[in-house]
Symmetry: C2
C-alpha cells in the first residue's frame, strides 16, 4: 500500500499544461507570468469565474480572486494557492510580487487594458518594487491551439450536437417563420439537448439579410425562394463548435446558385489541400484564389477561418495577413463566403482537425446545394 493519490484526468492534464507553460515562461527569461484572460484561466487552473488572476512561476501556481469567487476557486482549482484580493490589481500585486522575490513579470498585453497596466506601473514605481513588467502575447493561447485527445473528444461532441440539431433546423426554417422565431427554436433544441448556453448568438439570415456576414436574427419573415444562412454552435464542458450552412428555400436566383457552387469549391479545395506546417495565410489563399478567379474576390471580405476550443474564436487565425502557422492537433473552421449586398450571401463552414498532416472534417452534415 502506498499513499499515492490517484488524480483525476482533469488534474493530470492541468499538471502537464502548467509544465508546458513554465517552459515557455523560462524560455522568455521571465520569473513569472500574470494571466487574466478567462479561457486561459480555465485551461490552466479549471477556474470558471468571470474575474480572477493567475500568477505562475517555476515554483508557484497562484489564483487570485475576489470575495465573490473565493469558495468557487477552492473547489475548481485544488492545485492552486488561492488568494483573496481586495480592490484593484495595483493595490495588491506589487506587495505580493515583492514578497515572492520576482523581478521580471510577464503580462497579457492584448488582454490587460492600457489603464490597468499604466496604473500597475505607477504603483510599482511608487512602492519602489524592483520589478520589470514585460508585455507578452499568446503564450497560453499557443498551448491551447494544440488540442489534447480529451479536448478533441469534447469538441467532437459539440460538433455532433450542432449536426444533429441542424437536421431539425432544416424543418424549422420554412417560409412564414421569422428569423428570430427560427433562431429561438433552434437555440431551445440545442440547449435542451445539452449545450451549455450558446457559444455565440445564432444567425438566421434570409434574403438580403444573408449578405450581412454577421447578421442578427430579425423580425423579418423568411420567404420562399430566398437563401437562408444559418450559423450556429454548441458548447460541451466548455468546448465550442461553430457551423454554417446556406439553404435555398425553393427556386432561387441563378447568381446565388452560382456563388454557392464557387463557395463549395473553395471550401472543398481548402479542406483537401491544407497541410500541417503551412502558413495560415497560405491556407487562406487556397480558398481565396478560387473566389477571386470567379470574379468575387471583393465579396469575400473576411478570413477563411479561426481556431475553436474553449473560445469560439482562438488561435490560429486563417486570413490574408495572418502570421500563424498550422500544426497537427489544431482545430479550426474553414468558412469561405460570398456576399452580394442587397441580394444575398452564401457561407459554408465546417470545423476540421489537423491530423497526420491533413485536415479531417469533424462535421457530418451535407454540403450539397439543397432546395
Amino acid at each position: 500500500m502506498t499513499n499515492r493519490i490517484v488524480q483525476s484526468p482533469r488534474r493530470k492534464s492541468g499538471i502537464k499544461r502548467l509544465r508546458k507553460l513554465r517552459t515557455s515562461i523560462a524560455e522568455k527569461g521571465l520569473d513569472a507570468l500574470l494571466l487574466s484572460q478567462p479561457e486561459n484561466l480555465r485551461y490552466l487552473s479549471g477556474f470558471t469565474g468571470s474575474s480572477g488572476w493567475l500568477l505562475i512561476s517555476g515554483q508557484n501556481a497562484i489564483l487570485a480572486t475576489d470575495f465573490r469567487y473565493v469558495e468557487q476557486a477552492k473547489g475548481e482549482s485544488p492545485d492552486f494557492e488561492i488568494i483573496q484580493t481586495k480592490q484593484e490589481l495595483r493595490d495588491w500585486l506589487p506587495g505580493l510580487v515583492s514578497d515572492l522575490g520576482w523581478h521580471k513579470l510577464g503580462f497579457e498585453a492584448n488582454f490587460i487594458s492600457y489603464d490597468s497596466s499604466h496604473k500597475l506601473s505607477e504603483a510599482i514605481e511608487t512602492k519602489q518594487v524592483n520589478l520589470e513588467l514585460v508585455p507578452t502575447t499568446g503564450i497560453a493561447e499557443q498551448l491551447r491551439s494544440i488540442k489534447e485527445p480529451e479536448e478533441l473528444g469534447l469538441i467532437t461532441k459539440a460538433v455532433e450536437l450542432a449536426d444533429a440539431v441542424f437536421e431539425q433546423a432544416k424543418a424549422i426554417i420554412r417560409p412564414g417563420i421569422t428569423e428570430k422565431e427560427a433562431a429561438w427554436e433552434i437555440e431551445k433544441i440545442l440547449r435542451q439537448e445539452g449545450s451549455e448556453g450558446m457559444p455565440f448568438e445564432i444567425i438566421v439570415a434570409s434574403g438580403p439579410n444573408s449578405a450581412l456576414p454577421h447578421a442578427r436574427p430579425a423580425e423579418k419573415i423568411i420567404c420562399s425562394g430566398e437563401p437562408v444562412l444559418i450559423d450556429m454552435g454548441a458548447r460541451i464542458s466548455g468546448y465550442c463548435s461553430d457551423f454554417s450552412r446556406t439553404l435555398f428555400l425553393g427556386e432561387t436566383d441563378k447568381s446565388l446558385q452560382e456563388i454557392y457552387n464557387i463557395v463549395l469549391k473553395a471550401q472543398a479545395t481548402a479542406v483537401e489541400r491544407i497541410e500541417s506546417g503551412m502558413d495560415a495565410s497560405q491556407a487562406d489563399r487556397l480558398a481565396r484564389s478560387i473566389v477571386e478567379q470567379a470574379g468575387y474576390g471583393d465579396a469575400f471580405g473576411h478570413g477563411l477561418g479561426h481556431g475553436v476550443g474553449l473560445a469560439v474564436h482562438e488561435f490560429p487565425t486563417l486570413g490574408p495577413s495572418s502570421s500563424d502557422s498550422l500544426a497537427d492537433g489544431m482545430v479550426f473552421t474553414i468558412e469561405p463566403g460570398i456576399y452580394l449586398a442587397g441580394k444575398g450571401g452564401v457561407r459554408i463552414e465546417d470545423m476540421v482537425v489537423l491530423k497526420n498532416g491533413k485536415a479531417k472534417v469533424l462535421s457530418k452534415a451535407k454540403r450539397d446545394l439543397l432546395f
Copy 2:
C-alpha cells in the same frame, strides 16, 4: 411647405448625445475622441455590431468598421460617415487622423488593450504623424449614467418583465427540481415574454450554493428547508434589468432567517436615505454599517450596487472605495448580501432611479421573508 426632415426620436436623442460628448471633448482640450466600447458605440451612434470604432470631433462623426458590419452600420447609423477598415487600428488610423488634421486624440484607456495602444503609438511614430494620444476614462460612460426619459421607459419595461416572470419563477422553484432546470425554465419564460437574450446568466443557487455570490446553476436538486437565491434580468431594446430575491423553501435555519432580516433592513435603509449629490461610497456605507453592526461585516464582501442601462454593470459604482457621485437621473441597483460559507446566503436586489433627490424603487416585487 418646407423641406424639413422629420427625425425619429432615436436620431434626435443621438444628436443631443453627440452635442454633449463634443462639449466634454472640447473641455478636455482634445481635437477628437476614439471610442470602441460596444455600449458607448450603441449609445452614440445606434450601431450594434460587435466590432467598430467611433471617431468624434467638433465637425466629424465617423463610424469605422470592417467588411462584416459595413452594411449594418449604414442602416443603423445614418448620421455617421461610414468607413470600411482593413487590418488593425494601427494600419488605418494614422493616415485618417493625418488627413483630418487632428493633433490631440483621446482614447478609451480602460477599454483599449496595452498591446493595441502600444502598436498604435509605434505606427504614429513610424509614419511621422504629428499626433498626441491622450488616455481618457469614462467620458461616454458619464453621459450614459444619466438616463433620458425614453431610456428610463425601456429600463422600466425590463424591470416589469423581470417582476412578472419572478411571480412565475416562485412556482417553478420547488423541492425536487435542479438549479439548472429551474434557471432554464425561467430563461425560457423571460425570452418568450420578450427579453432579448439574457443580460447575464441567471443565478439559481440553493442551500450552501447560495453562499457563493456569483454561483452558476448546478445539477444540484433544490431541497425543502433550503434558501434559494435567484438573480435574473431582462433586456428590452438594449436596456437591462437586474433583480435578486432569496426564497426560503419551508422552515429554514434560524440564522439564515436572522441574516434575511438584516439584509432587508440594510436595503430599506439605503433606499430611504440615499440622496442625489451623495458620494457613492457614502451610499454604500448606509447599508454596510447596518450589516457591520449586526456582526456580519466580513460576510458582505461586495459593493452595494452598480449602474444599469445598456450594460448590466455601468456607472456609477456603489462601493466602499468608489469615487463616483450620485445624481438625479441615475439608475442603479441596491443589493446588500450576507454569505455564510457552507451554510447559505441572502441577497435582496432592486433597481432604483434617482428623481428629485430621492431613490425611487422600480421593481414592484415583494421583499418580505417568504416560506
